[in-house]
């Protein structure tokens, strides 16, 4: 319990840091980007909306600590202002409409990569020097060396443009109404294949190597020898004895990768024009939409922190040593 509380405190501090970062960036950056934004968009807005955004972004004559307290209060209560590029939709609404797509894409890719990678790692460590162990790691490291977006571009060119097997952009076809019909679902699935595949390809190597290296250490433990001496089936030893104990670092990586789900799919989303938060973040940056930018960053951070906290709770269940301390 103390462990959980400590972690919770830590995540609250991290969240506070990201809010503060958001607060400070537009106020202390050279070149006054915020005024530029206002100069461009002023005539489309109502006076009170301009006033609210000025306060949010720090074009404001009040003392800085007063602004800060106000800002903290606004963020915690979810008042993030209105989006400028999608005027007059509130920032929270814009984000809510996109976060689902990112979770779908990133979640699918992460689960597939983690399961496949860990299984391969287990097999590689179990049969040291075998085919999987000697051929796959260099190959996967090589694939993992490619920039995400470049592999995505290659896949898009090969399977999307040249072969025409998969659609090349967006999350579903314009001609289909979103619904829970089979037609719509399969369309979404088809649009998901290429972006998810490229993420899996690049990240599976990391999972495999991590698992393999931990598992090699575990395989040398006495209880493995003991299990073999007892004459247990190799499959049982491999999964119930060795892999299970080698899982913990992978669980931690899983928590950290959840951050990647929300933030890191950005490049893939951009290449495939996939309507997730990453794609939106880039649009916001290009459109000088600072309120939306800040809102997106805060949402992404909050998601990452929440995911890590959940993994911590899971960790307490998995690792008795944490409970003892």
């Amino acid at each position: 319990m103390r462990f959980i509380l400590r972690r919770l405190g830590f995540y609250l501090i991290a969240f506070w840091v990201s809010i503060t970062l958001n607060f400070l960036l537009p106020r202390f950056m050279p070149g006054d980007p915020v005024s530029r934004m206002f100069a461009r968009t002023q005539d489309r807005m109502q006076p009170e909306q301009i006033e609210a955004l000025r306060k949010l972004l720090g074009v404001d004559d009040r003392p800085i600590w007063e602004q800060y307290v106000d800002y903290l209060h606004n963020m915690v209560t979810g008042q993030m202002g209105v989006s400028i590029s999608r005027f007059p939709t509130p920032v929270t609404e814009v984000i809510a409409s996109q976060v689902g797509w990112t979770l779908l894409l990133g979640g699918t890719a992460l689960v597939i990569a983690a399961v496949v990678g860990n299984l391969l790692g287990i097999l590689a460590a179990w049969r040291r020097g075998g085919a999987i162990d000697s051929a796959l790691p260099p190959f996967l490291i090589f694939i993992g060396s490619f920039p995400y977006f470049w592999l995505a571009m290659g896949a898009l060119y090969l399977f999307g443009v040249t072969l025409g097997w998969f659609p090349i952009r967006h999350a579903f076809s314009d001609t289909i109404e979103p619904s829970f019909s089979w037609e719509f679902m399969s369309d979404v699935g088809m649009h998901l294949v290429l972006p998810a595949l490229t993420i899996v390809l690049v990240s599976v190597g990391g999972w495999m190597l991590g698992m393999r290296n931990t598992m090699i250490a575990t395989n040398a433990e006495d209880y493995i020898t003991m299990a073999e001496a007892k004459g247990l089936r190799p499959g049982r030893i491999m999964f119930r004895y060795a892999a299970r104990n080698a899982m913990l670092p992978s669980v931690t990586s899983f928590g950290m990768s959840l951050g990647f789900v929300v933030g890191g799919a950005l490049l893939t989303e951009v290449v495939f024009a996939y309507p997730g938060v990453g794609y939106q973040l880039l649009n916001a940056v290009q459109g000088l939409d600072y309120p939306l930018m800040q809102g997106l960053f805060l949402t992404i951070t909050a998601a990452v922190l929440l995911a890590n906290f959940l993994v911590d709770i899971l960790y307490v269940r998995l690792d008795p040593r944490v409970r003892a301390n």
Partner: protein, 343 residues
Amino acid sequence: MTTSIATTASTVSGETFAGGAGTPPGTPDGGAGLPPGASVRRPNRSLLHGLLTNKKAMTGAAMLFFFIALALLAPVLYPDNPSKITGMASQEPDAEFWLGTTAKGQDVLALTIHGARSSLLVGLTVGFASTFIGILVGLAAAYFGKFIDEALSLTTNVFLLLPGLPLLVILAAFLPPGLGTVILVLVVTGWAGSARVLRSQALSIRSKDFVAAAVVTGERPLRIMFREILPNMASIVMGTLLACIIYGIGAQAGLEFLGLGDVSTVSWGNNLYWAGNEGALLTGSWWVFIPSGLCIALVAFSLSLINYAVDEVTNPRLRKIRKSKPASKPAGKPAKPGKRASA
């Protein structure tokens, strides 16, 4: 990017890492002048020797040197401005333009060779800078402990948790564009991973007897940190440095691909940005976007090979299994025949 660092971290933390620093100085009683000096060299030399005889490391180093040479020789090979329009638009590779031309009519080969300069410069700078910060923070946290450790670890962990790529994008959006901004932003988002790995390693060395001896002898903290502790974690520092360079090159390319770098310079990331902008993919000009991406991949791969080799050299368990097996690893072998028999 994040994965590569996380992988290193998990590899590192999973091991007790007695290998490289296994026989540290051994003379805690001697006056701290000479023995540490002697101990300093031994692990380093064995690491270097191990790397020189390792096939993976040598392949990686050869590839890396090839690209560094290419970057240095770029002004000799192509004295002209690489962005100059020299041919027809979107020409396929032929005898005149080995890698074809872009939609604007620029020579892709010239762009690729010149691109190596900025990409390697930024990658190496970011790698060394973030590793250096990581060393400072990690060593200080491990050596001083208590409150300083708490504060530094907290900062490190917070930075580690803040989502890197979005933070990168936000920072790049607010700061004025330029090469300096790119480097600064990448270091800000990249140092935390190395700090965490180095701290945990320094912590285990901090608890060794020879450090305690040095403290008792009254050596200055800075000297203990950099002359006693640091040399004994050479391999980890090396692994961290390589991971940071890989991160730097990849993240720079990503940032530039999004159009958030300095668009006026020629670099691999910017080549890809223009390739995407000019619709090279949709018109089928594969020769425009393949070279730069391949170069990034080959450089990152060469660094990964060296990193992998460092792991192998310092961690005996990961080495290739030889015919005469040491008694310390009885687990793997008996399992295999048993498995085959049952299968």
